[in-house]
Amino acid sequence: MTAIDDTPESNDPVPAPDAAPDVDSREAAAAGRKAARHETLRLLMKRPAFIGGVLIVMIWVVCALFTNLIAPYNPLDYRTGLNMSPSWSHPFGTDKGGRDVLSRVIAGARDVLKIAPIAAMLGVLGGVILGLLMGYLRGAFDTVASRVVEAFLSLPVVLLALLAITTLGNSNWVVIGVVATLFTPVVARTVRSAVLAERELDYVTSARLRGESSLFVMYREILPNISGPIIVELTVRIGYAVFTVATLSFLGAGPPPPSPDWGAQVSDNYNSIVAGYWWSTFFPAAAIASLVIAVNLIADSIERVVKS
C-alpha cells in the first residue's frame, strides 16, 4: 500500500506570469518527455533483475552478431573426435557428429534471436489490431471474435504449430508466421480488456461527439494510453517466442539438422545422455533456459515499473 502516487511532474505550481516564449516552451516540453523516459530508464536501472536480464541478452546478441569472430571453430566442421568431453580445446566438448558444442551454441543464438522477436512483434501487432476492434466496437463483432479467440486458445499450441509447419514447410518465415498467429488471440484478449476500461472514459465520448471516426478514436486516442500493457505484453511474448521456437525445432519443425539450432541440438543429442555424453544436450538446453529467463527478468521489471 502506497499513500501517494507521486510523480515528479505533478502538482506543478502556477508558473510565473512572464512564461518563456513559445519556441523555448516546446523545447522544454520535449525535454520534459525525455526526462520522463529517462526517469523510467533510471527506475529500471535500479532493478538488479533488469540489469541481469539485459546482460544475458546482450551476451547472446553479441554471439549472434559476431559468431565468426567468437566461435573457436566452424560450427558445422567435423572434428577429429566424437563425443569428446569438455576440455581446454573444446570447453563444451563435441557432439555425436564430432562438432564443437561451444561453437554451435554460439552460432545457435543467431536463428532464435532473429525469429523470436519478429514473431512476438507480429503477434502483438495482430493482437493489438484485433483487441482494439473487439474492445472498441463491442457488439456482434466482439461476441463472435471472443468465441473464436477462446476456441483457438483451447487448442494445444504445439500440435497446431506442427500441423501448420508440416503443411507449409519449415522455413524461418513459416515459423515466424505460425508463432505470431498463435500469439495473436492471447494478446488480443489483454488489449481488449484494456480498451474496455479506456473507452468508458470521457475523452472517448468527447472525441465521438466532435465527430471523430472509429479508426481515429481507436488508434490516435485510445492506443497511446494502453501502450504500457502492450509493451509489457511484447516483452513477455518474446520470452514465450524463444521457448516456442526452441520447442518447435526440438520437435523437428525447425531448420534442417546440420544447422546449429539450440532446439535441434537438444533433440539430436539427448539420446546420448544415457551413454554419459551429457554436455552435448546440456549446453544448448542451458542456452535456451538462460535466454528465456533473461527475457522474463526484463519483462517482469518493465511490468513493475510501468504499473508503479
Partner: protein, 694 residues
C-alpha cells in the same frame, strides 16, 4: 488585544491531554516515496474533548485524511511518524503494542469511511457483517445476531430484519453508510472518526445521514472527529473546527466563531470562495485564492500561507507566526490579525448579463427509453425545454433523476425516442452526434465532471485543443495555432501549459483545458456536467468566475447540471428540477428561491447543510428514488411527497401549471396549499429499503 500563546507544537490549554478523547500533539508524518520521505503532516496539534465533535477542514492535499487515519494508527506501510504523539485517554497509540492497538480499536475507537461500498464485504450478508462486530467483543453467535438487529434499529433503518438478510449491493449508498455507522457504534466507542462520510451521497441522503450522526452523538456521548471538505457539513455537525493548510492547523475555534468571524486569511479566502448567502453572478465575482497549495514534501516557508496571502509582508517571510489567541479557546496563526480587514471582497459586477428572447436550443417532447433485459426503462419522459442565447439553465435533482440522460440526448450520445426532437435555432437535428451535420456538432459541446477522464492523458494540451479547432471549424494551419493560443489565453492558461500533458497540470488547470476545448468550436450551448464537483472550493470559485465571464463575452448558453444548490443559485438564470425523467418545476432563479416551490424542490432545498448556519427545517425525502422502470402511478413523486393528497396524487398525473410568468410546476396543489407549513413526524426519517429489481 491579541496575546501570543505558548510555542507552536505544544498542546492547547483546553484541559489535560490525558483526559482528552483524542489529543494529537505535534504530529509530524511523512510518506516515503521511492525512498524519499515526503512530509505530509508538519506539526499537527489538537484535542477532542470527551463528547465533543471536532471538525477538520481544508482543501485536498492538506493532510486532513492522514490526520484522521493517524488517530487510529491506520497508516500505510510507507508512512513514517517523525515526531509527536497521538493520545487517546492518555495512552499514546503510536507506542502501543499490536495487541493493545487491536484492543483499542475494538473497544475505544471506530472509523466510518468515505465509501461504504468499499467498507463492506460484497459477498457477505449485512446481518453477518454487523454481527461480526459483536462477536469480536466476545458475544456468542445468537447474542451477536440480536445485537446486530438492535444496532440496525438504532441507525433508523426500516425493516431491519429484512436488511439483515441482504447483500451490500442490494442497498443504496445511504443505507450502506447507515450500516457502516451501526458497525462503528457496536462497541459504544469513546471516539468516532468520520472521514468524509457523506461525500459520495446525494444532498438529501447526506442530510439524513448527518441527522442520524447528530442524534447518535447525543445518545452515546461519543467524541467525534469529522473530516470534510464541505464547510456546511462541518458547520452543521461540529462544536469546534480546525482549519488545516499544508499539514498544519492554522486556525482553531468553535465552529460558529470560525465560520462567522474567520481570523486567518486562508479561512477568509475559503469562506469567500463559496457562493453563499444567496450570492448571484450579477452581484459580484467569487473570491479566489491565487496560487496552489505547497506540494506534499516541499519545503515550507515560515508562514505556510505566505505565498498566497494578500496581506503578507516581510515579517511573514522571516518568522513563523505564533499561535495568536483571538478569543476563548480560539486561536489563529497569523502575524497580522489586526490587518485582516484589509482583505477586500471582489468588487460588484457592473456588466448586465443579457439574455436574448428566442431559443437557441429546444427540446420538444423528448423522451428516452432504454431497454434492459427486455424491460423498458423510461429515463426521460416528454421533456420540453428551451434555452435562450446567453442564458444559464441550472438542472438539479437527485442521482437517477435523468439529468445526465437529458444532457446526453441533447449532445447526441444517444438518439431520443420517436416523436421528440432536439431543435437548433428552430431546425430539428439528427438524434446521434455521428449523423449530425458539422454545424450542429459545433453548436453543442460539453464540459465533463472529471477532467482526468475527459482529457486524453497522452496528448499535449496543444494537440487536444488544435484537433478540436480543426475538426469543428474550417480554421487550418497557422491560424489554427493562433486560435489555440488565444483560447488558452482566454482560459488564463500560459503558453507553457500548452505543451504539457494533463498529468502535469493541477485539477483546476485541467478543468480549464476542458473548458477551452468546449469553447474551441465557438459553441452556442455548452453542457456543464458538475464541472466543479471534483475541485476544491478555491479552484471552484475560479472556474465559476471563468464560466461567467466566458458567457458574457461569447454569449454562450449553459446547461449547468449540479448537486450544489449554492453553485446553481450563483450561476443559473433559470433552474429546472428533474425527478424520474420529468421536469417537476422550472422558473427564474430568484423566483425559485423566493416563491413557493414544488414539494420536491422544497425538500431538495431544505436538505443543504449551510455554512451560514441558517435555521434548518429539513423536510426528509423518505425512502429511495423509485426505479424508472416501474414509476409510481399518478404523480411520480407522490410516494415520497410530504404534501400528497390521498385519492388524487396517486391516481392522476398533474399537468404543468404556471404559477407566475415563467414559473411552472407539475403539481395538483394550489399556491395556498403549498405555502402551509408542515410538521415532520419522527417516523418520516426512517430509511426505507428500495424495491429490489427482479
Amino acid at each position: 488585544m491579541s496575546d501570543v500563546l505558548a510555542e507552536p507544537g505544544s498542546l492547547d490549554e483546553r484541559g489535560d491531554p490525558a483526559t482528552a478523547a483524542l489529543a494529537v500533539d505535534g504530529l509530524e508524518l511523512a510518506y516515503e516515496v521511492r525512498g524519499i520521505p515526503r512530509a505530509v503532516l508538519r506539526g499537527v496539534s489538537f484535542q477532542v474533548r470527551p463528547g465533543e465533535a471536532f471538525g477538520l477542514v481544508g482543501e485536498s492535499g492538506c493532510g486532513k485524511s492522514t490526520t484522521a487515519y493517524a488517530a487510529l494508527r491506520y497508516l500505510p506501510e510507507n508512512a513514517v511518524v517523525q515526531a509527536g504523539r497521538v493520545l487517546a485517554q492518555g495512552d499514546d497509540i503510536l507506542q502501543m503494542s499490536k495487541s493493545a492497538l487491536r484492543k483499542f480499536r475494538i473497544e475505544q475507537a471506530s472509523m466510518v469511511y468515505q465509501d461504504p461500498v468499499q467498507a463492506l464485504n460484497p459477498t457477505s450478508r449485512i446481518g453477518h457483517q454487523v454481527a461480526e462486530c459483536f462477536t469480536v467483543l466476545g458475544e456468542s453467535k445468537s447474542e451477536a445476531q440480536a445485537s446486530a438487529l438492535a444496532a440496525l434499529r438504532r441507525v433508523k433503518i426500516a425493516a431491519p430484519e429484512s436488511v439483515m438478510d441482504r447483500y451490500p449491493h442490494q442497498l443504496s449508498g445511504g443505507m450502506l453508510q447507515r450500516v457502516v455507522i451501526a458497525m462503528a457504534l457496536a462497541s459504544d466507542p469513546q471516539l468516532l472518526v468520520l472521514d468524509e462520510p457523506t461525500t459520495g451521497l446525494d444532498a438529501t441522503v447526506e442530510a439524513e445521514v448527518l441527522d442520524l450522526v447528530r442524534d447518535l452523538r447525543e445518545e452515546t456521548g461519543a467524541a467525534i472527529l469529522l473530516i470534510a471538505h464541505n464547510l456546511g457539513v462541518i458547520r452543521s455537525m461540529c462544536d469546534r473546527v480546525g482549519v488545516m493548510y499544508a499539514g498544519r492547523i492554522i486556525e482553531e475555534g468553535s465552529a460558529q466563531d470560525v465560520f462567522d468571524n474567520p481570523q486567518h486569511p486562508y479561512t477568509m479566502g475559503l469562506l469567500n470562495a463559496i457562493p453563499r448567502q444567496g450570492l448571484r453572478k450579477t452581484d459580484r465575482a467569487l473570491f479566489t485564492i491565487p496560487g496552489n497549495l505547497p506540494g506534499i514534501g516541499s519545503d515550507l516557508p515560515t508562514c505556510v500561507y505566505v505565498d498566497r496571502c494578500p496581506i503578507a509582508d516581510d515579517l511573514c517571510r522571516t518568522e513563523v507566526p505564533p499561535k495568536v489567541s483571538v478569543g476563548t479557546d480560539r486561536w489563529t496563526r497569523c502575524h497580522h490579525v489586526e490587518r485582516l480587514s484589509e482583505i477586500v471582497e471582489p468588487e460588484a459586477v457592473v456588466t448586465e448579463y443579457e439574455i436574448a428572447s428566442d431559443n437557441v436550443i429546444e427540446l420538444d417532447g423528448v423522451s428516452k427509453t432504454f431497454r434492459q433485459r427486455g424491460h423498458e426503462v423510461p429515463a426521460l419522459v416528454s421533456v420540453d425545454l428551451g434555452f435562450h442565447e446567453g442564458e444559464t439553465l441550472g438542472l438539479v435533482g437527485e442521482s437517477g433523476s435523468g439529468k445526465s440522460t437529458l444532457a446526453k440526448t441533447l449532445l447526441g450520445v444517444h438518439a431520443p425516442d420517436e416523436g421528440g426532437s432536439v431543435n437548433l435555432r428552430g431546425r430539428p437535428m439528427q438524434g446521434k452526434a455521428g449523423d449530425r451535420i458539422q454545424e450542429s456538432i459545433r453548436a453543442i459541446s460539453m464540459v465533463f465532471q472529471n477532467p482526468d477522464s475527459a482529457l486524453n492523458r497522452s496528448w499535449t494540451v496543444r494537440r487536444i485543443l488544435r484537433r478540436t479547432v480543426t475538426k469543428l471549424t474550417s480554421i487550418r494551419g497557422e491560424e489554427a495555432d493562433e486560435r489555440v493560443e488565444s483560447l488558452a489565453e482566454a482560459m488564463r492558461l500560459s503558453q507553457r501549459h500548452l505543451d504539457m500533458r494533463p498529468k502535469q497540470l493541477s485539477g483546476g488547470l485541467k478543468q480549464r483545458v476542458a473548458i477551452a476545448r468546449a469553447f474551441a468550436g465557438d459553441p452556442d450551448v455548452v453542457v456543464c456536467d458538475e464541472p466543479t464537483s471534483a475541485l476544491d472550493v478555491s479552484v471552484q470559485a475560479a472556474i465559476l468566475n471563468l464560466l461567467a465571464n466566458l458567457q458574457n463575452d461569447e454569449r454562450t448558453s449553459y446547461l449547468f447540471i449540479t448537486h450544489d444548490i449554492g453553485v446553481v443559485r450563483y450561476l443559473a438564470d433559470r433552474i429546472a428540477v428533474m425527478y424520474l425523467g420529468r421536469i417537476m418545476e422550472i422558473g427564474a432563479t430568484d423566483v425559485m428561491f423566493s416563491e413557493v416551490n414544488h414539494p420536491y424542490t422544497e425538500a431538495l432545498l431544505s436538505a443543504v447543510p449551510s455554512v451560514d448556519g441558517e435555521a434548518e427545517n429539513r423536510i426528509p425525502l423518505t425512502g429511495e428514488i423509485p426505479s424508472p422502470a416501474n414509476p409510481p402511478s399518478g404523480c411520480v413523486f407522490h410516494t415520497r411527497c410530504h404534501r400528497a393528497i390521498a385519492g388524487l396524487c396517486e391516481v392522476t398525473e398533474p399537468e404543468m401549471v404556471e404559477l407566475s410568468p415563467g414559473h411552472r410546476i407539475k403539481c395538483h396543489l394550489t399556491v395556498e396549499q403549498l405555502s402551509e407549513p408542515i410538521e415532520i413526524s419522527p417516523a418520516d426519517v426512517l430509511a426505507e429499503i428500495a424495491d429490489l429489481p427482479d
